[in-house]
């Protein structure tokens, strides 16, 4: 393949993004501290691709998704979306961008207003952005609900009347309602059974082809990530550890953290699972208030050397075309 000819186009450019949360510690909040939720991360998202984002709970995935869409103001760094520098824009100027870039939240309950019927909740983005005449809205919503495997007869019910997985699908349908170009999908299918997961993944891939959608797909299920992503970013404690094409990352992982993550994936086979000795990562898990010096993974890395603890942690370096890793030793 000639890389010059098929240069993918960058839709979203993330440069040196930082998000810190000031918090108060101690029983009476007497001590100030800072949560280093994301610390200087940079990556590109290409138009039309699915970029998977994986990593341990609390490593900063949702915060990254929120910051990308300016739902959290980043502490520093630059985010550019289709040539627009979002980090330099006022809330009012961002409005047209919000139609083009949507998010499916991790927690479906907090997204849906408990006092709004499903119909109104789904119509909201259509109405806010004036996308359709009022009388065409029900048909559009019926189509969206059908896409996610739900019946239009559900539309007049309230969020609490649904099962967990049904609510999650309503959120997916709602995010699609304004015909966005880019969607941050934060664990969008984690509460669904495998058959419906398969249906939704197929749907998302179909929509992507049809409308050239771009996804940032946050998930912890590596089999799903492998299935849907073109490229994958691995995060650990607010930093990027590895970025690579899907196939390269799964077949040829370089970073010790990625390797540990892959080794822990269970298989749907009782014989295999019973005989497997799991490599469970040991050591203290993420503490974003007082992150370790040097390579953030060093307290749990079985290959850690003294040099890994030195103040300036390792940078992402190119180990193969399109493959970056933040460990200089592998």
């Amino acid at each position: 393949m000639n890389a010059e000819v098929k240069q993918p186009k960058v839709l979203m450019k993330v440069e040196n993004l930082v998000k810190h949360f000031p918090v108060r510690l101690g029983a009476y909040g007497e001590k100030k501290a800072v949560v280093h939720a994301i610390d200087d991360i940079s990556f590109d998202i290409y138009r039309g691709e699915t970029l998977g984002l994986v990593g341990e709970s609390g490593c900063g995935k949702s915060t990254t998704g929120f910051a990308l869409l300016q739902l959290y103001k980043p502490s520093s760094g630059k985010i550019t979306f289709d040539g627009l520098e979002l980090t330099a824009m006022e809330e009012k100027a961002l409005r047209p961008v919000r139609k083009r870039a949507q998010i499916i939240f991790q927690d479906p309950y907090s997204t849906l207003n408990p006092r709004m019927t499903i119909l109104d909740a789904m119509a909201e983005p259509i109405r806010v952005h004036n996308l359709l005449p009022e009388k065409e809205i029900p048909a559009r919503i019926a189509q969206l609900l059908d896409d996610v495997g739900l019946n239009f007869s559900f539309a007049n019910r309230y969020p609490h009347e649904f099962s967990g997985g049904q609510r999650q699908r309503i959120c997916i349908a709602r995010a699609l309602a304004s015909n966005p170009e880019f969607i941050v999908c934060d664990e969008p299918i984690s509460a669904l059974d495998v058959s419906i997961q398969a249906q939704i993944i197929n749907l998302m891939m179909d929509l992507q082809e049809k409308y050239k959608l771009t996804y940032l797909f946050i998930a912890h299920d590596l089999a799903v990530v492998r299935h849907i992503s073109d490229r994958v970013v691995v995060m650990y404690l607010g930093k990027i550890m590895e970025i690579a094409d899907k196939k390269e990352l799964f077949d040829n992982p370089k970073h010790p953290y990625t390797k540990a993550l892959l080794a822990a994936v269970p298989e749907a086979d009782p014989d295999h699972e019973r005989n497997k000795s799991r490599v469970i990562l040991t050591g203290d898990v993420s503490n974003a208030i007082d992150p370790p010096s040097g390579c953030r993974f060093h307290p749990r890395c079985q290959y850690a050397k003294d040099a890994c603890k030195k103040a300036q942690g390792p940078q992402l370096i190119k180990v193969a075309p399109g493959h970056l890793s933040a460990c200089p030793y592998f």
């Binding site: 709970s57 991790q106 927690d107 967990g164 058959s195 749907a268 993420s286």
Partner: protein
């Protein structure tokens, strides 16, 4: 050995605008002391409502219209308020599917976690807090002392889920009902939670009901699996039989939809075509009939009961609700 929990012919309905919604339609199962039972089934099939019915944590629009739930000589369906309160939380602990609905956003984590210990076990505040911090450590939340002083929104999605897990386990109940407890957790922490629960079972002989869509996770964990569809139990078998010799057409479809980490190159996943039935009518024929490849004329007339699988004398406890003999026909 006799059962610790015996559920018979349980039926639960919701009053909705369009009439009655039949969420649970005659569920029977038993749970032995120290046993671990997995529950799977399509989104909306009644898994959560079944478990909420057991401890009668249902919304006012719901009613249990039939059946019994025997626990320690008491029928929980008929038990009075005091009897139920004595069981809930301290003897039967529940990990809810939606952490944000069960965590109070305005109350610090520590207060919510320690409540049960102080109320049911009359522990002093300091001891209760010590124990809670210890449980947060066990579910892999670092800096646990500090976390006790935080509010739910300051935690990541996966941390909130682990707080829920700690909350159910901290009072060391006889039965733990876990409703999709690890959906927001990555594999390494999942493995840690599974080990924790297994350890608890070893130490205290706790019985566990684990609802999940993640068949890979169950494969390394439970003794028996119950498959639900449209408010009915459609298959029940010990772990190995269910994976190696599934008999109900729905179970077969479910196992075929799992995305695998290996041999994952074909783009489309297999899903089960069609939608589950509208539960406004109680199923009179087989509820899976409209989606079933094995359907015969009888399936549209009569709803099959749960019986031993063809070719089995009943000793293995492998049962299905299906008229067909699916052996060798997949």
């Amino acid at each position: 050995m006799s059962a610790l929990l015996e559920v018979k012919d349980l039926e639960t309905q919701f009053k909705v605008r369009a009439g009655k919604l039949h969420a649970v339609n005659g569920v029977s199962f038993s749970l032995k002391q120290g046993e671990m039972l997995g529950v799977v089934g399509e989104s909306g099939c009644g898994k959560s409502v079944t478990m909420m019915s057991l401890i009668r944590l249902l919304p006012p629009s719901a009613s249990i219209t039939n059946g019994s739930v025997m626990f320690e000589g008491v029928d929980l369906v008929k038990a009075n308020k005091e009897q139920i309160n004595a069981v809930r939380g301290s003897k039967i602990g529940m990990i809810f599917q939606d952490p944000m609905t069960s965590l109070n956003p305005f109350v610090k984590i520590g207060v919510q976690l320690s409540e049960g210990l102080m109320y049911h076990k009359s522990m002093r505040k300091k001891d209760a807090y010590d124990r809670c911090a210890q449980y947060l450590d066990m579910v892999g939340i670092s800096n646990s002392r500090h976390r006790l002083e935080e509010y739910p929104h300051q935690l990541s999605g996966g941390m909130r889920q682990r707080v829920m897990i700690a909350m159910a386990l901290v009072s060391e109940p006889k039965i733990v009902i876990a409703d999709e407890p690890t959906t927001a957790l990555d594999v390494t922490i999942q493995a840690q939670i599974v080990d924790l629960v297994k350890g608890l079972r070893e130490k205290l002989d706790t019985s566990i009901i684990w609802i999940t869509h993640d068949l890979s996770l169950l494969a390394g964990m439970v003794d028996r699996i119950m498959v639900m569809y449209a408010g009915c139990v459609v298959e029940e078998a010990n772990l190995r039989d269910l994976y190696k010799d599934p008999r109900h057409p729905y179970t077969i479809g479910l196992l075929n939809s799992i995305p695998r980490l290996k041999n994952n190159e074909n783009r489309r996943l297999r899903s089960i075509p069609g939608q589950p039935p509208n539960l406004l009518q109680k199923p009179a024929s087989c509820p899976f009939a409209s989606r079933c490849a094995f359907k015969t004329e009888r399936c549209d007339r009569e709803n099959p009961g749960l019986e031993s699988v063809p070719g089995d004398d009943g000793a293995s406890g492998h049962r299905i609700a299906c008229w067909a003999d699916t052996r060798g026909r997949i």
